[in-house]
Structure formats: C-alpha cells, structure tokens
Symmetry: none
Amino acid sequence: MNLDIAVLSGDGIGPEVTKQAIKTLKAVGEVYNHTFTFKEAPVGAIAIDQTGDPLPEKTLQLCLDSDAVLFGAIGHPKYDNDPSAKVRPEQGLLKLRKSLGLFTNIRPIKAFPTLIEKSPLKEERILGTDLTIYRELTGGIYFGEKKLNKEGSVASDLCEYSDYEIERIAHLAFKAARTRRKKLTLVDKANVLETSRLWRKVVTNIGKSYADVELDFLFVDNAAMQMILNPSQFDVILTENMFGDIISDEGSVIGGSIGLLASASVGDENAMFEPIHGSFPQATGKNIANPIASILSAAMLLEHFKLFEEAKAINKAVEKALEMNVVTPDIDADSKKTTSEVGNFIADYIANAE
Amino acid sequence: MNLDIAVLSGDGIGPEVTKQAIKTLKAVGEVYNHTFTFKEAPVGAIAIDQTGDPLPEKTLQLCLDSDAVLFGAIGHPKYDNDPSAKVRPEQGLLKLRKSLGLFTNIRPIKAFPTLIEKSPLKEERILGTDLTIYRELTGGIYFGEKKLNKEGSVASDLCEYSDYEIERIAHLAFKAARTRRKKLTLVDKANVLETSRLWRKVVTNIGKSYADVELDFLFVDNAAMQMILNPSQFDVILTENMFGDIISDEGSVIGGSIGLLASASVGDENAMFEPIHGSFPQATGKNIANPIASILSAAMLLEHFKLFEEAKAINKAVEKALEMNVVTPDIDADSKKTTSEVGNFIADYIANAE
Ligand SMILES: [Mg+2]
Ligand SMILES: [Mg+2]
C-alpha cells in the first residue's frame, strides 16, 4: 500500500516523539512492503514564529492532499500565558480539525494490568476498566462566537449545536458500542443547558435505531465523580466538545500513564492520529519524552487503513519494550532509556521480528 | 463577638445534623465568650407544607436581618418524585441564594488521615490534601441566554462574564489564600475561551495587590487530571461557575466521604453555610445521619467572621472524633454511634479542651 502521510510534529516534545513514530512506520514499511511517504509541515507555535500563522495555508493543503495526518503536539508558554496574545498555537489545531472535518475524537482508556500499580486509583477501582470516549470535536463553545466589548470588561462565548452535528457522531458512537459491550452513556448537563437538552433529544431518537445498545445519561459533574469512583461501569461515552475535553483528560490519568495513550480524530474524508499528551515544554530537547503514545497513534493510523497485522506488529513491539523495561523515566524513574532509544528498540524489534 | 444566626435546617436529616452544629457553636460560644443567637425558620418541603412557599417571606427576612445563615438540607420525595408538582423545595434554595446575592461558593476538600482507606485514590496521592475551591455561583453559562430555534434543531447557551463579577470573587479567593498556604490557582480554558481570557486578565491584575500570594493558572482539562494525580498541590482554586461545578464535584469524592464535606456560599452582605450532602430522606429521624459536614460548616461560619482559633477548635474536635472512631455508620459500618452522640462528643471536647 502507498500512503502519503502529512507529518505535523508541532511544538515542545512533538518533534522528538513523532520522529520515533516515523521511524516505527518506516520499519513497518520495510517489513511489510508498503511505501509510506512522509512530508513535514509546521503547525502551532513554531508556525507562528515562522509565518505568523499557527496553521499556514501550505500546511493545511498538505494535510488535505495526504491520506492521513500524523500529529505531534502544540503549545508554548510564551503564548499560553500571555492573555494579550492575538495569535495562539491552539488556533492551529482547532482550525485544522475543522478544515479536515474531523468531527469525532476517539479516546480509548484501558487499565493495562502491568500499569495498575502506577494508577492513582486503588486497584479495585481501576480493575477491568475498558472504555472509549467519543467526543464531538468541531462544535460547541470552543468554536462558538466570542465577544469582548471594546472596554475589555465583558466577554462571552457561545455554545451552539445543531441536530446534524449531534447525529453524525452519535451514529459512530452507537456503532462502536455495538462492537463492544453494547452500552452508551451520554454525558451532558441537561438540567441546565439548552444544548444538552438538544443532545439528549437527538441521541434518544437515534438510539431507537440501535435497540441492542443500552443508552443512559449522566450529568457531567456526576460523570466527573463516577470516572474516579467506578470507571469500569462505562463502555462507550458520548459527549459534546468541552465536556469531552474535561472527562477524557480526567479519564486519561486513571490508567496509570498518559505517555501510552493514543487517539484518533476522524471525519468523512480525513483522519489524524496523535498522542494525547501535550507539548510538555519543560522536557523539550532533553530526549526524555515517552514516544510510545506517538508510536501507538501510528498503529491506530495503520488500523484505520485496515493494515491490522502491521498495527499488531507495533503493539507487540511496544508490549515487548514495556516488558523488557525499555522505557523512558516517566514509566520507570530508574530507567536511563532515552526517547530515541525507546524508538530504536521498537523499530528494531519490528524489523527483526521475522 | 455577637452573631445573629438564622437557622434554616430544612428537610430530611437537615434538622438532626443542624442541631449538632448549633450544639457545637454553643460550646464554642461558652469557651471563647461569644454570644451566638439562633433563630429558626422553615425552608423547603416543610415550608411548603406550612405556608405553600418553599421560601416564605418571613424566612427570607430573617436571613437578611441575620449575620449568617446556617442551612441544613432540602428535598422530600413527595415533591421530588412528583413531576406535576409546581412548587418544589429546591426553588427555595435557588431563590435564597439569589436574594442573598451569594456569588461565591466555597468548598474545602481535606484528606482526613483516618479516612484515607475509604478514598478511591491511593494513599500516597491523597495524603496531605487540603484545598479549597472558590466557585463563581451566579454567572457564566448556567445563567446565560438560552435559545432553541422553532424547528427545535439548533440550540445555544451563552457564557458571559463581566470584570466586576470576576473581581469580587477574586478578592475573596486571594484573601483566603493569605490565611492559608498563599497559593492561588485559577482554573480556566484561556487558550480557547474569551471569558477565560478575561478571567485571567482580571485575576492577574488583582494579584498585583496580593504580592504575597503565588498565582498560577491551570486549564480545566488539566485541572481534572491534577485533582486525581496530585490534589495536595492545590491550596486555593478559583474558577468560574461550570468549571467549578465539575471540579468541585470531582474533588468531593477523593477524600473518601461526602458526609464530611461542608460548604459556604457568600456575597457582599450575606453568607450561608451548609453541608454538601442532601436531605437523605431514608435516614430521617433515625439518628444515624453524619453530623460532621454540618458541624464543619459551622466552623466555616466562624472562619468567615475571622474567628480562626474558634474554627480550629471545631476542626480539632472533629479530627479527634474521627481518630477515636466516634462516628456514624456511614464512616464505620460497625460503629453504633448516633448523630447526637457524635455531636455531644465534639461539643464536649471543645468545652473541656482547656
Ligand atoms: Mg484537553
Ligand atoms: Mg454539581
């Protein structure tokens, strides 16, 4: 298979970890006779520094022309902590998701037995957790009209949803539930918000076409509690953009390591794969960042193109690395392995597995 | 000091637990030579039964004329389970908060050493946690304009904040930080939301007048993670209404028992103190309800009037009760101690501490 992959490694540790994902994909390409072509383009703070735009037109065009996007991370304190900054790294990611029509973010959260001792939750709470969050990604308050009066004293953000935006992700979430434990939980705040009441109405209607899937509802503040008290109760969680941001990030830490978590963002025409961790500016250039989440996002990319055996080869190599303790210090503080050494081990393991 | 305290003990277990808080305050008054005057008035279901109104005019007037309100709990199944009920107990609480101008909700979260085994978090995570959340209570998206188009296909909610709404709660939060560990964390989403950027700008400016308080910033999705990973890092958390709802409910479960959590709701002129648990109708009149949250809300009342030593005496007595296992069955299923016995122990400990 030929795949043109746009590489947007971004800021902070993004480039370091993405490099290991590319290395891994190249090893897969060698072994399984695929031609993966990588073309890089700037995004985020580095793109602002270079062009003034967090998502330059050339970067967007490359993504549109590619089969998939391999994304690193964006964000830099010099923009994040400056309330007067008019151009922000995150605008690049938000615009990219919107331009590529990536309306669904998928985040699997699983309690890996080998990592349970690293979980902040007690073993009996986290044991058996295996859930997936479907977060709406291109609507809601993050994209609604923003206003600031000219005195700079009154600000507002509009949260808006249409039935169409809810329907398309709801279908994906119900379909996913069908292949899993057949349970879908809609997280909202329907006792207070009009948009949440629309979500509840639309999802309830769509649920009638998925009668084999059990549908229930949870207010977001209660969901934030349940994610700690009893995360194994969840199968598929469906929610709007901002609630999904909060709940999925909360969920990301219960398994024990954020450095292992990958995600997919999909739309009708495009797909992007990225680690869920951020740009982690403090670690930049130190060769200590965990590349496994980025490498696993490359595995999700392969799965997206139905290269299941190839994806499995990556997953197996990652498991081997964990098993042999070839890990960065975030997984084992005593480990002296660097970002590139972990990447090398995984790529070599794939290359020499035959 | 003379304090006129309006007692609105409400429904369910409200009267039982509030009685113990009053007993405790009386003991404090004896020891420290303060005159606390208590005047009771009905609110909630019991007020509906008596007058048809969940917040009778006389009750509201008593609150307005008092220095503080000690609140129990409201809610009764005969109204809660009747969808056709036009008058509901909760309306009394909402109207009361609004009439008293209570724009700040304060929620302390503390890890009591004896309860750590009940926490869903591992001991090393929860140990040393002692934080307090300042949540804006009368603005933001819960109160913004709500719209639904006439086809019922597009809904919206507006989140709006003015500098004034932010300033008044920010001053309270900074002042609180001064009496604590001198650290304030603003939780927002300033990388995306205009309202959050206004929060950050206003709070940064006000912070200049509190140079002894360290101010930092955390995005709400990260805050949802940090509350699990490392809650002891926080001293005072300041945040807007909806983020505060989610983060404070998330935080409420990490300590191991909701039966110990008190809260305050304060405005420029009035202040109200209440346990965060509800009216728990099933336990009503059985003398088994945990009075500690209500007793700790009385300690918050004392702190509000800068009676720090007195508040500390209550906190110390509560810790002693926990340490000696003088607790209701929700804390220890084998305990045979009643609501009033726990209250007696705490009041006696204060009275005899000298
Ligand atoms: Mg996030
Ligand atoms: Mg809540």
